[in-house]
């Protein structure tokens, strides 16, 4: 009987460590703040060890919960509800955060991790600023520890432990989904550090170039994680949900998209603060808004307010608690901002045509588009509360109201990114971009001539994609100087490469989305075994349908041959699975991934003898959507690895390290 005793010990220690971490966070909030105000070095010095210990305790707590999942300790209510002893190890581990309580524990773990990293790498920050940043960061932690301990405690025990658990939803037992929440949280919570820097700077009453330089790597890291997290979720939807949709403008998706847009705006405006000491108060406001929208996102997802009664945290107590956290931090920070923003005087002077102005335009487009998403997401609630109308705001609205801003962004980006600081010569930049522009127009024209339909979407997407990529190449080439010495390219700062790669990524994603939406082909039919049929240029034949038994499911597996001009190009096995324990059918689409197109085959119900419903989709450029996201994230990482950050600012090795413990 020693096993259960050890397990119980670990669980209780984890619970205890969580409470200790909460108490340390309280100390970390109060002492350094007073210390910084009174200029008492001893009190300020408390922040750093407190941040480290707080992180260690919460890390232990999280490890204890993970352990409980790994050894299937069903005396824990949470494990009983969300796990099963026969589940594969990967999903036992990912089950730790695949539920409300565990995911909130992951949230505070990452919060404490970022706080600790700010302490470790913040050696060159002014002592008062560092003390205040860590104190503000800890105050956010305090709120979330309270939330966990009082409303969502993962360590609650059951009096009589059951023999086995209730298992995790089979749809969630997927590698793509296992890592989707941690990345998303690293992004959401990463923005908390920017928030802490902003609030600390407001208390300090001082924002200068150095501040911009300290904040930027954190923003970049958070944005990279958000990009990866969103892309993973979208890719999962594409291959798992059975019709290849990749973005639904669902409230919970929007919840992650709004902070992404704000983070993108913030990481650009922080450049202006760093290089030109302008846009200071706006950047502070953006930092507050970016994290504020992360909190709104958490509120939307956790309260289940906008996602109907089926959302898993439909307990109003939790929703109200998070709403209070949201109001306190965002409201408090905005009040502080209103009181102090005037003191931050801009120094940099720049002409109307300049990089600074271009980045102002970038910020306008990103911030306004994010607000459009916000208003669209909240409108059903507003309409119901104030006008007594039950209505929906769905994809048609967002496509119409949001897309124009992205098109404008894509059009301006290559020009804006090449303008020089202070005062730019627009004529020269425009002239150097003529080849890129001509190339983009030519490609769009070619596509327009080749396509059968009259949709403008495809050609516009091709134009934007080609324009952004060739614009980025032009920008890089222009850095080689008059001599066009290509060897110089390799000596460029990594930030320049990061910029080019990330901007190309945006273009490729835009191209992928437009191409997929404009040229997708769909075929729904009753296919007889052995009777080939044509979809577009492809000939498909359902060759066989078998009953297959998996480890914990039964499957109806079709065998489909895909041919072009009689040559087989793919042999696909679409499945329709049934999980008897969970009483749940899932479709497992079979996808032939190719550079130019995916062939996406789904098998449905039997229709008489040897005949089945088969859906076939030809999805052109589908992979480009996620390839573009990967490029964007890669561009961010390249910028993050730039020498300037390592040498100057205190954010050494931010991104790669941050990912490890939470995975």
């Amino acid at each position: 009987m020693r096993g259960p005793i050890v397990r119980g010990m670990v669980t209780e220690l984890g619970h205890f460590a969580l409470i200790l971490a909460a108490l340390i966070a309280v100390i970390q909030t109060i002492v350094p703040l007073i210390g910084a105000h009174k200029r008492w070095p001893g009190w300020m010095a408390v922040a750093e060890p407190a941040a480290t210990t707080q992180f260690l305790f919460v890390a232990f707590s999280f490890a204890a919960l993970t352990y409980a999942f790994v050894v299937s300790d069903f005396s824990l209510r949470l494990v009983y509800l969300n796990s099963h002893s026969a589940k594969p190890m990967l999903y036992k581990i990912s089950g730790t955060w695949g539920n409300h309580e565990g995911s909130m524990l992951l949230w505070v773990l990452i919060l404490a991790l970022f706080g600790a990293m700010a302490a470790w790498f913040g050696g060159n920050l002014p002592p008062t600023l560092r003390a205040r940043v860590l104190a503000v960061q800890a105050s956010v932690s305090v709120a979330f520890y309270g939330f966990i301990l009082f409303t969502s405690n993962p360590f609650l025990r059951m009096q009589v432990p059951p023999f086995d658990g209730q298992d995790l939803n089979p749809l969630l037992q997927d590698p793509g989904l296992a890592f989707h929440p941690p990345f998303l949280y690293l992004g959401y919570v990463g923005l908390s550090i920017c928030f802490s820097f902003a609030v600390a700077a407001l208390i300090e009453g001082r924002v200068d170039a150095a501040w911009g330089r300290w904040v930027r790597p954190w923003t970049l890291a958070a944005w990279v994680f958000l990009t990866i997290g969103i892309a993973l979720g979208s890719w999962w939807a594409y291959y798992e949900l059975g019709w290849g949709g990749f973005w639904f403008w669902d409230p919970v998706e929007n919840a992650s998209f709004m902070p992404w847009l704000f983070a993108a705006a913030l990481l650009h405006s922080a450049i202006v603060v760093e290089k030109r000491e302008a846009l200071k108060s706006w950047t502070i406001l953006l930092a507050i808004l970016a994290f504020g929208f992360s909190l709104i996102g958490t509120f939307i997802v956790r309260s289940g307010l906008l996602t109907s009664v089926h959302a898993f945290a439909n307990d109003p107590e939790r929703g109200v608690f998070i709403l209070m956290i949201l109001v306190f931090f965002t409201g408090g920070a905005l009040t502080l901002f209103a009181a102090r923003a005037q003191t931050m005087e801009a120094k940099g002077v720049f002409g109307v045509v300049s990089r600074e102005s271009a980045l102002v335009a970038n910020n306008i487009l990103l911030a306004v588009s994010s607000f459009v998403v916000f208003v669209g997401t909240m409108w059903p609630l507003v309409a119901e509360m104030f006008f007594d109308r039950k209505l929906s705001v769905g994809p048609p609205f967002f496509n119409m109201a949001f897309t124009p801003f992205m098109i404008a962004l894509g059009l301006l980006l290559p020009i804006g990114s090449m303008l020089s600081w202070k005062r730019a010569k627009a004529g020269r930049v425009v002239r150097s971009l003529v080849p890129a522009f001509m190339l983009a127009v030519a490609l769009a024209g070619l596509v327009w001539a080749m396509q059968t339909g009259r949709s403008l979407m495809g050609p516009v997407g091709v134009f934007l994609g080609a324009w952004l990529v060739s614009g980025a190449v032009t920008d890089l080439l222009s850095r080689t100087g008059q001599s066009r010495d290509l060897r110089r390219l390799f000596r460029l700062p990594r930030a320049d490469w990061g910029k080019a790669v990330a901007h190309s990524g945006l273009g490729i994603t835009m191209l992928g989305i437009a191409g997929l939406l404009a040229w997708e082909q769909e075929d729904i039919r009753v296919a007889k075994v052995g009777e080939p049929y044509n979809v577009g240029q492809f000939e498909l034949e359902l060759q066989d349908v078998k009953r297959v038994e998996g480890p914990n499911y039964f499957s109806t597996m079709g065998e489909v041959s895909v041919r072009v001009d009689g040559q087989e190009v793919a042999h696909l096995f679409p499945e329709k699975r049934n999980y008897p324990v969970a009483q749940m059918p899932t479709t497992e689409a079979a996808i032939d991934y190719r550079f130019w197109r995916d062939v996406y085959v789904v098998i449905g119900d039997p229709q008489g003898q040897d005949a089945w419903v088969v859906r076939t989709y030809i999805k052109p450029l589908a992979n480009w959507i996620w390839a573009g996201c990967i490029l964007m994230a890669l561009g961010g990482l390249l910028s993050l690895s730039d020498r300037r950050f390592r040498v100057a600012a205190g954010a050494r090795k931010t991104a790669p390290k941050a990912g490890v413990p939470a995975e």
Partner: protein
């Protein structure tokens, strides 16, 4: 996390529709490709009432199938697109419309983007103009009075 929610939603409609069959079925498809195309476009804009933020075109629920068939029935009967939508809104309320109308206070929703953009553009332009006209702070970082005093001292 969004995907977790989505899955919960997926679970919920599985419960609602005991016989889950994926989206548009071959037997629903109309013979006339033009009418069918119109039906598809219309059903992409109609919400499945028992699902979570899914159109009837994507949904597996049996209620969504009924609605798809209803749309096609009305189209075959010769209704225009508007008439079909009116017919369905009359029965199920404006909640079914994924694209909200512009009626009532909804104009606020539709105007938000353009209005905010205009305001932001004006503010941005004012800021940029202000910056381009601002005096560059002198290199020494001294105020005018201090600079004057320094000049006097240096003259002596």
């Amino acid at each position: 996390m969004k995907t977790l929610i989505r899955t919960i939603a997926a679970l919920s409609f599985v419960l609602v529709s005991a016989l889950a069959a994926p989206a548009v079925q071959p037997d629903e498809v109309l013979d006339d490709p033009v009418l069918e195309q119109r039906a598809r476009v219309l059903s992409e804009g109609l919400r499945c009432l028992v699902c979570q933020n899914e159109s009837i075109d994507e949904s597996n629920a049996s209620l969504a199938r009924d609605l798809r068939l209803l749309v096609r029935e009305r189209l075959v009967a010769g209704d225009s697109d508007e008439e079909v939508l009116d017919f369905i809104v009359e029965r199920y309320g404006e909640f079914v419309l994924l694209r909200p109308t512009t009626g009532g206070w909804n104009w606020v929703l539709w105007a938000t983007g353009p209005a905010l953009f205009l305001i932001a553009l004006l503010m941005g332009a004012a800021y940029v103009r202000g910056r381009s006209k601002a005096e560059a702070p002198n290199e020494t970082g001294l105020t005018d009075d201090e600079q004057k005093r320094l000049d006097e001292l240096l003259k002596e």
